[in-house]
């Protein structure tokens, strides 16, 4: 199809050999001489006032070299709890010792006196007036009260006219919503389009449900780890397992008041991230503080249990959703009220509630979302943050509507999907995206149109959308005298992004992929690059790499022009040689020869520079179909078929793209069927892989992936973000398939056997 020789081809990853041989250096492999072992002292209460912290016994333990508390944080930014503990496992202090066992023993010797406070774990409890408050009152009005209160404020401001009658009427109306004063609110987000009341009034069918999605963990294989070394001059080096070394550098600088360039962050090979590896204070800041205090390098490494109690997982949420449509299948109105469990701090992805709109023409839409404080750790990004939750609600409910109006779920979706040129919020119009192509592709590949189902078998479909961002980046490329190419940059390899960058540069410089090598610098040496998350890396760094290669390309032609005494317009770089286009007999010069020649010119070596900031990407769509069989007596669900298609713009490395589609789909399946952080009275009660179940390869058939390519205008070769979209529809895909199989609508994830049995029993099974 394409004329490309390297991009669009499946190539071996640049890091394949080091991963397979075990040579890759992860955070825990870093061991500078004299290194101490850090241990974080954690709260054994979920909500309490701290009366005292006594470190004196721990200090006396031989081998203990440093103990730090919040008093050691010069900026005063909260690293450790000071007066109030907000969740079980919250850091209170940290210890560095010559041996991990000593550090652990010392941590146990630190005495904390608490005044225990009532705990709240459930979002719907936390918003009630009776709930204990985490941070002041956090009082906010619900959507109806909010509207009335805004009107009252507007009328009150108008001093010229007397509105007292209207105002007292409105105040009386406020009384209609006594439950709409929410407490412990950390953030809110509201949006609407059209006229929601009118929209619902025109519908033939209206469905309303409450969806409950649990908190899940990113479960990257490598726990958080950092090694910090502060020298006597004040220079700090941090080996960090992170998705964003530059973000960690500025985070440490900001938290500890250290000048930016006094900090060097060296990103170590990452054992998975999925959005959860951007945190600054989880291990990096304590490691730096301990090193500063002890004068020795210190490693702080989380255990798996700590990952669960003090990681930053994806927020759970409760979404009350209402959708209305006409009997001929037009969705006219949708309204969501969502409560996101943001834990002890704000930061849950509440803005993603708007994803209930999906890729459909919904003229009337209203979304009200609240972040709610509970006695849990804070949350962070996880693969398309917030989208799987909102899309689970949205796509589950679409199937309910389709069923009620008797329409095929795929046809119903196709009919309502937006098309190029359709209006979207903020006055923009819909760009060209393969929404319908992607859904049609998955339906065809799965055999949807002539699907068959035996007893207790069923089919489910769902789509999920996501838009990747873009960020700044810098790439250098150099051509050596042997014709090989070396790339230098500072972004962390995630999902094979270094491979894609190498492919792009090989393509433009027309050299074999094997002659390109890539080096990552630390924050001291490499140009700035955005964090490796949000599906931005291939888009951003791919564009940056393209600019760098084009810059080098230009210099190559200039050199050839000089060397061959030919006009640049008459030259062409092809197969690693510069050819004279019109020469007869053919005339050319090898890239290596030009690189050697360049050393003795006034221009100098062949170096290309790419520097790039931001460009809008277009949305991506993932569409999935599952066929399942449910055992109605045990409630166990087996997946018989799982097909996933995705509009990826352009697949720079098809195998890597398929890997992303498979991985995202499996994570979505896991969230639907088994993953769930469970909370008891005080905190997480399944902090390990025995009872936090991540699926294995035995749980699923091979995910069949279908690549759809509708080029993104600004992407390198039309590529767009690939990593996040595939997790977004799977939760609903599974729930819809279970519904089709045995007639029960599970609105509360995960779809565990016990829930299925219960639901079937209340259906009369």
């Amino acid at each position: 199809m394409s004329d490309y020789t390297v991009v669009g081809q499946t190539v071996a990853r640049v890091d394949a050999v080091e991963k397979v041989t075990g040579a890759a250096q992860y955070g825990a492999d870093v061991h500078p001489p004299g290194m101490l072992y850090g241990k974080i002292v954690r709260s054994k209460q979920a909500h309490a006032n701290i009366l005292s912290i006594d470190t004196s016994e721990a200090e006396k333990l031989p081998g203990v070299k440093a103990i730090i508390t919040q008093d050691d944080v010069p900026s005063g930014r909260r690293v450790f709890a000071t007066d109030k503990i907000l969740y079980l496992g919250e850091p209170l202090a940290a210890v560095a010792a010559t041996d991990p066992d000593i550090a652990e023993e010392a941590a146990e010797l630190i005495k904390i006196e608490y005044e225990v406070l009532p705990v709240v774990q459930d979002v719907m409890e936390a918003i009630k007036p009776s709930a204990p408050r985490l941070h002041g009152d956090g009082t906010k009005d619900g959507p109806n009260r909010r509207e009335i209160a805004t009107q009252i404020r507007r009328l009150t401001r108008d001093k010229e006219n007397d509105h007292s009658d209207e105002i007292s009427k409105l105040e009386a109306e406020l009384e209609n919503y006594p439950d709409e004063v929410y407490y412990n609110i950390s953030a809110e987000s509201h949006s609407d389009a059209g006229d929601i009341e009118k929209g619902f009034a025109e519908c033939d069918v209206v469905v309303e449900d409450t969806y409950v999605i649990p908190r899940v963990h990113q479960t990257y294989m490598e726990p958080h780890v950092s090694v910090a070394s502060a020298d006597s001059s004040g220079k700090v080096t941090v080996w960090a397992s992170t998705q964003g070394p530059f973000a960690i550098r500025s985070g440490i600088a900001g938290t500890l008041g250290i000048p930016l360039t006094q900090i060097n962050v060296i990103g170590t090979t990452m054992g998975g991230g999925f959005g959860g590896r951007f945190g600054v204070i989880i291990t990096h800041v304590p490691a730096v503080l301990l090193s500063q205090k002890s004068g020795r390098p210190v490693r702080v490494q989380m255990t798996r249990e700590e990952e669960f109690t003090d990681g930053r997982p994806a927020p759970g949420c409760v979404i009350k959703l209402k959708t209305g449509a006409t009997n001929d299948g037009r969705i006219l109105a949708r309204q969501a009220l969502a409560f996101w469990d943001s834990g002890s701090v704000s930061g849950a992805s509440i803005g993603s509630t708007i994803r209930v709109r999906g890729v459909y023409k919904i003229p009337n839409l209203k979304v009200d979302a609240y972040g709610v404080h509970t006695n849990k750790s804070g949350t962070a990004a996880y693969r398309a943050p917030g989208a799987p939750q909102a899309i689970f609600a949205g796509e589950s409910q679409l199937d309910e509507i389709a069923e009620r109006i008797g329409m095929d779920p795929v046809k119903f979706r196709l009919m309502n999907m937006r098309e190029e040129g359709d209006p979207i919020p903020a006055g923009a119009t819909e760009p060209k995206v393969g929404y319908k192509e992607t859904l049609e592709a998955v339906a065809d590949a799965a055999g949807w149109w002539d699907r068959e189902a035996g007893e207790n078998q069923g089919w489910g479909v769902a789509v999920g959308d996501w838009t990747n961002g873009c960020g700044p980046g810098g790439v250098y490329v150099a051509v050596h005298e042997d014709g090989s190419v070396r790339i230098f940059h500072g972004s962390m390899d995630i999902t094979g992004t270094d491979t894609a960058i190498s492919q792009i540069i090989a393509e433009i410089l027309t050299v074999p992929y094997e002659s390109v090598t890539i080096r990552r610098g630390d924050t001291d040496s490499a140009p700035y690059s955005t964090g490796s998350g949000g599906s931005v890396v291939t888009f951003t760094m791919g564009n940056t790499a393209k600019l760098a290669a084009e810059d080098a390309h230009q210099r190559i032609l200039e050199l050839a022009s000089e060397r061959l005494n030919m006009n640049v317009d008459n030259l062409e770089l092809r197969d690693g040689e510069v050819h004279v286009v019109t020469a007869d007999p053919p005339k050319s010069i090898l890239l290596g020869e030009l690189a050697a020649y360049s050393l003795s010119t006034t221009g100098g070596p062949i170096v290309g520079k790419g520097s790039f900031a931001r460009q809008a990407s277009t949305p991506a769509l993932a569409a999935q179909i599952a066929k399942v069989e449910v055992d109605p007596d045990t409630g166990r669900t087996r997946v018989l078929k799982l097909v996933a298609s995705q509009d990826v713009g352009f697949a720079i490395n098809p195998m890597a793209v398929e890997g992303q589609i498979e991985g995202g789909t499996v994570q979505g399946y896991a969230w639907a069927m088994m993953e769930e952080m469970q909370y008891g009275e005080d905190g997480n009660i399944n902090p390990g892989f025995v009872d936090y179940r991540v699926p294995t390869s035995a749980d699923l058939p091979t995910v069949e992936s279908v690549i759809v390519e509708v080029p993104a205008p600004n992407g390198p070769y039309g590529a767009k973000g690939v990593g996040e979209p595939p997790i977004t529809p799977t939760l609903a895909t599974m729930a819809n398939a279970v519904k089709d199989a045995v007639g029960i609508r599970v609105t509360e994830l995960p779809i565990k056997p016990e829930k299925v049995v219960q639901a079937l029993q209340s259906n009369g099974h």
Partner: protein, 282 residues
């Protein structure tokens, strides 16, 4: 993990003498012990390996089809033994349910039983095989029946210094079956486990045995249900009664995995399934 002394005795007597001391643990495959030591739920001062003692591993079959399984036999070997597969299918199936192949290549059947988890996957199969447990110590040998071995979660009648040497399975069952209720296909612990074994005499059930795991503080036999089955031909009605009787024998707890009600219901469902399959196989 705390520091400990490590012993590798070559005789049972020596091992027993060492193991009679306080703060000691036996090391078989280590798949329970080492995890406990890392989590500090176990902090033995000495660890005594059974690996250098000859004669503790292996499956042997006598001419009357009675089978003896050494305590140090790997779970994987139990799973793959043709004789166990034929005469004690439920035990082979239980062994195959443990963790992963990597784990089963390390784990021993003796460790699975001595650890005394109510959810151990070989225990229901041993219960329905009426296994006799041979125990050795410096004072000599004794034998207890498998259903008398356990006294509570993690607790057995084993006295200090006593080591399980083998499991004897006296009488083969012509049909048996084990089902583990779980969420994840592999690498999951049993929400509950049910094994059933029968012999058939002209279509009439004899020697019905039903073993239940993870439904009570110790693994148990569902004797009421067994009595209902013995002497009768299997009918849908009888199967339903047996299921209910087995569920009534269970006294499960609610925990983070599932509720007590769900466990009881699953005992009912899986008893019906295992008994039916055992009869089909007989």
């Amino acid at each position: 993990m705390r520091n400990f002394e490590f012993f590798e005795p070559t005789t049972l007597a020596e091992a027993s003498r060492l193991f009679a001391q306080e703060h000691t643990q036996l090391l078989a495959g280590g798949t329970d012990l080492v995890i406990g030591m890392k989590a500090l739920t176990e902090a033995p001062q000495s660890v005594i390996s059974l690996q250098k003692i000859p004669g503790l591993a292996g499956v042997t079959t006598e001419s009357d089809n009675s089978i003896s399984v050494g305590a140090m036999t790997k779970v994987r070997a139990v799973e793959l033994s043709a004789d166990i597969q034929q005469h004690h299918t439920a035990l082979a199936e239980g062994a195959a349910e443990i963790g992963s192949i990597q784990i089963r290549n390390l784990a021993t059947i003796g460790g699975n039983i001595a650890h005394a988890s109510p959810a151990a996957d070989t225990v229901a199969g041993l219960l329905v095989a009426d296994a006799q447990v041979d125990i050795a110590s410096a004072d000599g040998e004794r034998t207890v029946s498998i259903d008398e071995l356990f006294t509570g979660p993690g607790q057995t009648v084993l006295a200090p210094g006593e080591i399980i040497t083998r499991f004897r399975l006296p009488s083969p069952a012509s049909g048996s079956h084990y089902i583990k209720h779980k969420i994840r296909e592999v690498m999951d612990l049993a929400f509950i486990g049910v094994a059933a074994a029968v012999n058939l005499n002209d279509g009439v059930i004899t020697d019905a045995r039903i073993g239940l795991a993870a439904v009570a503080p110790t693994p148990i036999r569902a004797t009421e249900a067994e009595n209902l089955l013995n002497g009768n031909q299997l009918t849908a009605e009888l199967l339903a009664q047996a299921g209910e009787a087995a569920a009534a024998a269970a006294s499960p707890i609610s925990d983070l995995r599932c509720s007590a009600e769900h466990r009881s219901e699953m005992v009912n469902v899986l008893t019906r399934r295992t008994v039916q399959e055992a009869v089909n196989r007989a």
